[in-house]
């Protein structure tokens, strides 16, 4: 399988502190790539660089053959981003949110409306589509957050901790959606702190710690590193690689 995203030696410092240090990895076409790591490992910062929001100090990113630095407009046509925080307008309805971001992504009005209806159906929000998002439950808001990222018909979807603070029903609904999207041909970069979630969803995983990518491979490959893949959990791999000390 070809690489859809290639990140080489990404480095970023804030106020002299290195937050991402020569991180290199790839995301292949039609795969779910899990980026795991303790709090403050640099996952979100990496996603912000990959999604054209933040310029890396060093390193190079290519997405779908385009350079993020030189051809950001071409890259933006290929990506959809679901930020870690809820990034939506709570006073407006789910439909209004989706249509607005769809139009910002370049869809004509009629198409944006049709697509919004289709995506809301997909994430199970059709019934409440006209209500202000402010009135939604936490799980519903998370689903709107993801739905907005799908409006641009992305080839590559960034999902930064999309399942924080929601019930098993919503969580499973999101898993099913992500798996279906991959099967339809989308590439997904997924971050999470839930190891069993990563184990279940991800085709390959990169583990980051203190800005460095310290391990890369399929879940089975990573488990094999420390023991029997059938009895070892991803959590054990994670703790053995990143240690047990608390992070900021």
């Amino acid at each position: 399988m070809e690489d859809f995203l290639v990140a080489s030696d990404l480095t970023k410092s804030f106020d002299g502190t290195q937050v991402v240090a020569s991180a290199s990895f790839t995301v292949r076409s039609q795969e779910i790539f899990g980026l795991l790591g303790p709090n403050g490992a640099g996952k979100t910062t990496t996603i912000r660089m990959l999604s054209t929001v933040l310029d890396p100090d060093e390193g190079d990113i290519r997405i779908g053959g385009h350079s993020v630095a030189g051809e950001s407009d071409a890259v933006r046509r290929l990506i959809g981003v679901c930020p870690q925080e809820l990034a939506l307008y709570p006073e407006l309805s789910a439909t209004d949110n989706l249509v607005f971001f769809g139009r910002m992504a370049g869809l004509p009005g009629g198409e944006a409306k049709a697509r919004a209806a289709e995506i809301l159906e997909r994430v199970g929000l059709t019934d409440r589509a006209k209500d202000a998002v402010r009135k939604y439950s936490g799980g519903m808001k998370r689903r709107v957050n993801i739905a907005i990222a799908l409006m641009s018909k992305p080839r590559l979807l960034f999902l930064d901790e999309p399942t924080v603070g929601i019930d098993p029903q919503s969580r499973n609904h999101i898993f099913d959606t992500v798996l279906a999207l991959r099967d339809e041909g989308m590439s997904v970069l997924y971050t999470t702190h839930y190891m069993e979630e990563a184990d279940r969803l991800c085709d390959r995983i990169g583990i980051m710690d203190a800005g460095h990518v310290i391990a890369l491979g399929t879940p089975v490959e990573l488990k094999t590193r420390i023991g029997n893949p059938d009895t070892t959990t991803l959590e054990e791999v994670f703790l053995s690689l990143t240690g047990r000390s608390l992070r900021d």
Partner: protein
């Protein structure tokens, strides 16, 4: 290039969906205006005291004082002349009336009589109204004496109808030459200044104040979007920094226009201010004011780093401009206050509105004011665009 308009439309939708913002920008100005109308004039009844020194003490003087007391809302307080002068000196009284010695005798004999008015400064609003009322009462009172005297004269002098005609002619000519009782200014301690009607300025003043408040406070929206990641999300779409900037500017203009138009239409409908031509010109003026306010909001949004900074900057800018721009008191012709007022949008906006609303001027007469407001809009836009950073690096 439709993206800036879509962005502005989004903000308008958010504004209309936010009951608090709507209440603040539309209900509150109406309430404040109604309150101030109640305090400064409008429907409320007039209450004042006429401060009178009766030096004559005669029959006619006493009757006149009774008549003044009979006027609704007007009380009479009696003074000796020395007391009255003292009160005027201390500004305890701003307008006093002196009925001079010989008042009754003059009236009875038909020679002109005068009540003297003593003023401190302009005499105060209430004093001016009281003086006008006293003048009216005195006129009516004098005509009665005149009539009585004239009738007596006619009855005793006229023997034929022609005689009667010529007697009446003489009397009318006399009366025209010398009104029987005049209310004359005695001493005006300070030169009287032409006082503007506060209500003429109040309406545009309040409209501009709330426009400034709501538009400059909306500067926060950009900072809020940075904080809650919608800006980040926007930056991953195809929206460029220039489009984002233009969209935010248009959003401020649209919000300001919606708010001002609602208030203006209401004011025109309820107060029957002026004709549709004046309303149309006010709307054009509102567009220029909203553009200037929106550009100022963008400067605040680009300079402020936190919501709080943006809020305080907006409040400060609005309060400064409102207070020194002539919303609540007229701007003097010179001095520090006049100088301060030059650095406000309100001064120019209110001046232009005032003429248009009173239908004494048109937009064409306000070219200077419009040019200033336009220049503020353009220069603030340039400054804001130079300072505008979309990067969320400093998140």
């Amino acid at each position: 290039m439709t993206r800036p308009f879509l962005l502005a439309l989004l903000e308008v939708k958010r504004f209309l969906a936010d009951r608090g913002a709507l209440a603040f920008s539309i209900a509150l100005p109406i309430l404040l205006f109604a309150l101030m109308l109640g305090v400064f004039g409008g429907e409320t009844s007039f209450n004042a005291t006429a401060h009178v020194a009766d030096l004559d003490g005669g029959d006619a003087a006493r009757k006149l004082i009774e008549r003044i007391e009979d006027v609704e809302g007007l009380d009479v307080r009696l003074y000796t002349e020395a007391k009255l002068d003292d009160s005027l000196g201390r500004s305890a009284v701003l307008t006093g009336f002196v009925i001079p010695v010989g008042f009754t005798a003059a009236l009875e004999s038909g020679t002109p009589a005068a009540i003297r008015v003593k003023r401190r400064g302009s005499g105060g609003n209430a004093g001016q109204i009281t003086a006008a009322i006293v003048q009216g009462v005195a006129d009516g009172f004098a005509s009665e004496y005149e009539l009585r005297r004239a009738l007596a004269a006619l009855v005793s002098n006229a023997t034929t109808p022609e005689d009667l005609e010529s007697q009446i002619g003489i009397l009318l000519a006399d009366a025209r030459r010398e009104p029987p009782v005049r209310v004359v200014d005695d001493e005006t301690l300070v030169e009287q200044e032409e006082e503007e009607d506060i209500l003429d300025r109040l309406l545009p003043g309040i409209i501009v104040m709330f426009l400034l408040f709501s538009v400059t406070l909306s500067a926060q929206t950009l900072i809020e979007e940075r904080r809650n990641s919608t800006l980040e999300r926007l930056l991953t779409t195809r929206l460029t920094a220039g489009e984002l900037f233009a969209g935010k500017f248009l959003a401020g203009v649209s919000r300001g226009m919606i708010q001002t138009l609602v208030l203006l239409v209401l004011a025109f409908a309820v107060l029957r201010l002026a004709g549709p031509g004046a309303l149309a010109q006010s709307a054009v003026l509102a567009l220029v004011v909203a553009a200037a306010a929106s550009a100022i909001a963008l400067v605040i949004a680009t300079v402020a780093r936190t919501d709080d900074q943006a809020t305080w900057a907006a409040v400060f800018v609005t309060m400064y401009m409102t207070v020194f721009g002539g919303t609540f008191f007229p701007i003097p012709d010179s001095g520090a206050l006049e100088l301060l007022s030059r650095f406000t949008l309100n001064r120019y906006a209110i001046d232009a509105y005032e003429g248009i609303l009173a239908e004494t001027a048109t937009l064409g007469d306000a070219t200077f004011e419009i040019a200033i407001l336009g220049a503020v809009a353009v220069s603030c836009l340039i400054i804001a665009r130079l300072l505008f950073r979309v990067s969320s690096e400093a998140k």
